[in-house]
């Protein structure tokens, strides 16, 4: 096994572990932290089903963002949608055809749209970075790390596009490398193609996975725990107590 293969095998495992454990840890923290009072932003749904619908709209069509800013919405939505398509398309490198997901992955729409999604992703990201540079309000609240993350993902998208359209790499070889990792086939890890462009692409993806659980990228799991969005508006009908409001009962003496 070449040292490049070893290095990437190790980094991919490490990045995956950090991503998984880091995000899980945060999810557990979010789930366990009490929300002592009812604070849904109203008008809010009065049933659980209504809350599911409200959050579904937030994560699929970014309803609140749509109300707020059409430009940010269009760039953000294009970016996230293409990310989703690209993600599905990539699964074919990491899953065997026996996987139950294969029929989805193999859909014409996923494979061909996924291929071009890279372009849309770059457009979306350039729009988002443009706002950070040209809109004075957004520039004011931007930290270097915000630019860094956008550039990182642009780098991933561009190297990916280059591999699809300019400098084709040996995907059969890549797939057998990745499958040997996925199946923990440690005695028989297949060699990774050593094209520079692939190494850069994977290196950036690995970086992204490492920073995910320690950055604002936590918005992905976090939105499901946002009390202003996930609480049912029923404080009069159902008594809500949690955390300090559950600590002591309301039994003070009448005066």
């Amino acid at each position: 096994m070449s040292s490049v293969t070893m290095l990437y095998a190790f980094l991919l495992y490490a990045a995956f572990a950090v991503l998984l454990i880091g995000v899980l840890r945060k999810i557990i923290i979010y789930a366990r932290t009490p929300q002592p009072l009812k604070i849904p932003t109203t008008p809010a749904p009065v049933t659980k089903a209504g809350v599911v619908w409200r959050i579904a709209k937030e994560v699929t069509v970014f309803e609140s963002l749509f109300k707020a800013s059409k430009w940010t919405w269009i760039f953000g939505w294009i970016f996230h949608l293409s990310l989703l398509l690209a993600f599905f398309r990539h699964l074919r490198y990491a899953l065997s055809p026996e996987s139950f997901l294969w029929p989805i992955i193999n859909l014409e729409i996923v494979q061909s749209f996924g291929k071009y999604a890279g372009f849309a992703m770059v457009v979306g990201l350039l729009g988002l970075i443009g706002r950070r540079i040209f809109v004075d309000r957004v520039r004011y609240i931007t930290s270097p790390s915000d630019h860094f993350m956008l550039l990182l993902i642009i780098g991933i998208a561009i190297t990916g596009l280059l591999m699809s359209f300019v400098e084709r790499i040996d995907v059969i070889m890549l797939k057998s490398f990745l499958l040997s990792l996925v199946y923990f086939d440690w005695n028989n890890i297949q060699a990774m193609p050593t094209d520079t462009i692939l190494m850069v692409h994977l290196g950036l993806v690995i970086t992204l996975m490492f920073i995910f659980p320690i950055s604002k990228l936590l918005h992905a799991p976090g939105i499901f725990f946002s009390p202003t969005r996930n609480q049912v508006d029923n404080p009069r009908e159902q008594r809500h107590v949690q955390g300090w409001t559950a600590d002591d009962s309301a039994t003070s003496k009448p005066v």
Binding site: I29, Y30, T33, P34, Q35, P36, L37, K38, I39, T41, T42, P43, A44, V46, E58, F62, S64, L65, K67, A68, S69, T72, G76, R131, V135, R137, V138, Y140, I141, T142, S143, P144, S145, D146, I214, S215, K216, L218, H219, G222, I223, F225, S226, P227, T228, R229, D233, P235, R236, R239, H240, V241, G243, W244, T245, A250, S252, K253, P254, V255
Partner: protein
């Protein structure tokens, strides 16, 4: 009239260019030591304030999912940046909701996230938006967390529902914990704990005032409308902001409630022990004080043996009542289960009108051309009725059934999009007039359009703070100060007491 520039009202809303530091000079008076100690906080800035404040942040995120999630997940998308009336009115970038949050978030990141600790150790915490808690940062906290009225407009537009009001409340609680409080809020809470209302009006004065009102209404209508205080066994305990007892235009609203109760034949009473609906402890984010203030109401209800609790016109008070009472001072199993607890006075009146229980002469309001200001705490932090959005339809339904001329302001300034009056969240103090005037700009702009287009001459509000704030700021924008009034003043005008036939 003012030693600052009053914003110019425009034809169309314009997002200002950022003007860093333009409001850095304005913060409210700090409280005196006994106001802090009176509500359980150190009298003055403690020596180890830095460590105490940092520790308090850690403690608070462990106990509030909202805080934990909100501090973690903001992506700095900027969607909220042009949503705050204080930013729109001042251009100070620290009044953009996300920038206001960042004042606290950067210290949280520095001490409670891997990224902040790592880059902090490298000496470049700013790379990941982290920063140390310095005296300057603390000063910024005091200034800009007292330039937020906790109106939640930003949380409507944030893709993750991040609510700057929660962050402001938390920041004020952290500051109180290290001995820095605002005079206006803390002084009032001390008074409310001691006497039972924000005005410091003791029982004899309250009884006197109510007797005076009985005479006034008798003179005006010839009818004996009662304003009962501490009547045991009454059906309804009315909890209303103490401003209603006292000043124009609030008092006309109270007269309206009394006439409604009178005509519907509902026996009711005020309590001299719990003579305040407002609960300023919410503004300073203090759970202990919030509960302590609210508990007076449970105690009074039990003591008087009432069957229902009805809440008067007040924005944040309705939030506390509707959203928090059941949690803090429930369960209300000792009250009549046939009525919601608490019930808003608008819900009650609306119900009575729907059942034809009130005799209304709409023409009596014909001299008024009316618009309605959605108080933000009612709009975005509570509900009326059984369906979402009842807080918008119920007050408007009432207005339309007691008056003929009603015009809404522009849709992007009402309902859930409503602009704060500019004086909520514990900022209704003279030391902040500049902020209050500038923050009222978006509301004043929308109001000007209905004045110009429809000749509106009556601005209805259902919040004591909104009413006081508008009375103060309307003249700065050349609107008549007395155009602000209660919703129940309209009811009061239209209701026909006694048998006319």
């Amino acid at each position: 009239m003012a030693d600052f520039d009053v914003p110019v009202l425009k034809e169309y809303p314009v997002i200002p260019v950022i003007q860093p530091g333009s409001m850095a000079h304005l913060s409210p008076y700090k409280s005196k030591p006994d106001h802090n100690t009176g509500i359980g906080f150190p009298g003055e800035l403690v020596d180890d304030w830095h460590d105490k404040a940092v520790a308090k942040i850690g403690d608070m995120v462990k106990n509030s999912r909202a805080l934990q999630v909100f501090l973690d997940i903001c992506v700095k998308c900027g969607a909220c940046t042009d949503k705050c009336h204080y930013f729109l009115g001042t251009g100070d970038p620290k009044n953009m909701p996300v920038a206001r949050q960042d004042l606290l978030r950067k210290v949280y990141r520095r001490h409670y996230t891997f990224a902040g600790k790592f880059f902090g150790a490298l000496g470049i915490p700013g790379f990941v938006g982290a920063a140390d808690l310095t005296k300057e940062v603390l000063d910024d906290w005091y200034t800009y967390f007292h330039q937020c009225s906790q109106c939640r407009r930003c949380s409507v537009f944030c893709p993750y529902g991040i609510d700057t009001a929660e962050i402001s409340m938390a920041a004020r609680e952290i500051m109180d914990t290290i001995g820095i409080g605002s005079k206006y809020n803390n002084e009032i809470i001390v008074k409310a704990h001691k006497i039972g209302n924000n005005l410091g009006l003791p029982e004899p004065a309250l009884v006197n005032t109510m007797e005076g009102l009985e005479e006034d209404v008798k003179d005006e209508t010839g009818i004996d409308v009662k304003f009962p205080v501490d009547v045991k066994g009454a059906d309804v305990l009315l909890i209303t902001p103490s401003a209603d007892f006292f000043a124009e235009p609030h008092i006309d609203g109270l007269i309206g409630y009394a006439k409604v109760f009178h005509q519907a034949g509902i026996s009711w009473t005020l309590s001299s022990y719990a003579s305040e609906a407002a609960n300023f402890s919410m503004f300073i984010g203090s759970g202990d004080n919030l509960k302590k203030q609210a508990m007076r109401i449970r105690d009074a209800a039990m003591d008087l043996g009432v069957k229902r609790i009805v809440s008067g016109e007040c924005g944040h008070a309705w939030r506390v009542a509707y959203s928090f009472w059941n949690t803090l001072i429930g369960p209300f199993d000792f009250l009549d289960p046939n009525y919601p607890v608490p019930q808003h006075i608008c819900e009650l009146t609306h119900d009575l009108i729907a059942r034809g229980a009130l005799k209304i002469d709409k023409e009596a309001n014909d001299h008024r051309i009316i618009t309605f200001h959605d108080s933000c705490n009612v709009s975005r932090a509570s509900r009326m009725g059984n369906t979402p959005g009842g807080q918008f339809t119920i007050p408007r339904d009432i207005i339309k059934s007691v008056a003929n001329n009603f015009h809404d302001m522009a849709p992007e300034t009402i309902h859930e999009n409503t602009f704060c009056c500019g004086g909520g969240g514990g900022l209704l103090t003279d030391d902040l007039v500049e902020l209050r005037v500038k923050g009222a700009m978006p509301r004043m702009e929308a109001l000007k359009h209905v004045i110009d287009d429809h000749g509106v001459n009556y601005l209805t509000a259902i919040c004591a703070i909104c009413k006081s704030q508008f009375a103060k700021v309307l003249p700065y924008y050349d609107h008549p100060m007395d155009m602000i009034g209660s919703l129940h003043q309209l009811v009061s005008t239209a209701i026909q007491l006694g048998d006319k036939e």
